[in-house]
Symmetry: C2
Subunit: 169 residues, 2 copies
Amino acid sequence: MSLRYSILGLLARTPSTGYELTQMFDRSLRTSWHASHSQIYPELAKLEHAGLVEVIGRGPRRSKTYGLTNPGREELRRWLVEAEPDRAQRNESSVRLFLTNLLDPTDRRTAYERDLSHVEKELEELKGVRRQLQDEGGAEVFAPQVELGIRVDTVIRDWLRERIEDAAP
Amino acid sequence: MSLRYSILGLLARTPSTGYELTQMFDRSLRTSWHASHSQIYPELAKLEHAGLVEVIGRGPRRSKTYGLTNPGREELRRWLVEAEPDRAQRNESSVRLFLTNLLDPTDRRTAYERDLSHVEKELEELKGVRRQLQDEGGAEVFAPQVELGIRVDTVIRDWLRERIEDAAP
DNA sequence: AGCCGACATGTCAATACCGACAGTTCATCT
DNA sequence: AGATGAACTGTCGGTATTGACATGTCGGCT
């Protein structure tokens, strides 16, 4: 169900085309939920059929801009407030972090270092986003979420550094 | 592919039955990857067919204990070290955290408080696990992973508390 | 005019995943 | 002896997800 509500959530913020939604999934939502355009377009069609979204404009290249309908807005609210959250996770990186210390010390170090450089890169990107939000000065709704991402990544980065140091002679 | 390698990883630690694997997914791996028995049994059959695991013992109630074969061990190592990690996530809680501040202040507070009490509970559980590992005194392989879980949950807990305080008058 | 790359939308077959249904086996309690 | 419940393994239909294929549009560069 998360795909459906992620789309409703993004549209609640700004009406968008399928293409723009795909980009937002890649950028903002990539640490929460991944989806590609081959899922997004069919889901938009279903949502339109269900009356939760509607086409509110057409642009160049046949693009259609979707917006939330009132039932859509209510459905999103209902899900966020009333529905029982599903806490199940599916996170390959986390599986790797978990299993990596089954490896012998050399391989383990290689794996941790690869993860570390990835986290460091991601952390830089997030800090870039934060800086950008500060410069804009506007009341960006998702600023706290960016902050959370930074804190979580920092914790993971430090943990990885400890793992690597522990392995050192 | 993560299901497959999660199973190989758990079996690398201890030979287990499908039932035991199901429990381990619920306990140790629940913050990384979720899987239910209806996925695990068929996957074990596939892995056996592929020669990556084998039945190394039979117990009461028709139970079969699976262990890794050498090709299985190599395949796990290959995946952990050489395969390109897939960083995509699927985490409904995270989607909720992201979308919750689209709600009006009252609903938002309700949602954050529900999440907070869940995280606090989970944190207590993890600390219980850590205490248990310390008491055992043995060199438990996954102790650092438990520590990481505690740190990440702590960061999320504090962030939620800030959100709730910000909302207060 | 021709070409390229980003924009934009879609479909389809294969695989992954979920929840419900279903059955057997053993230990313990009454 | 019968009931109960936890241990244990499986299957199945429906939905979700992926990756590849397919098609066309528009702006800018040469």
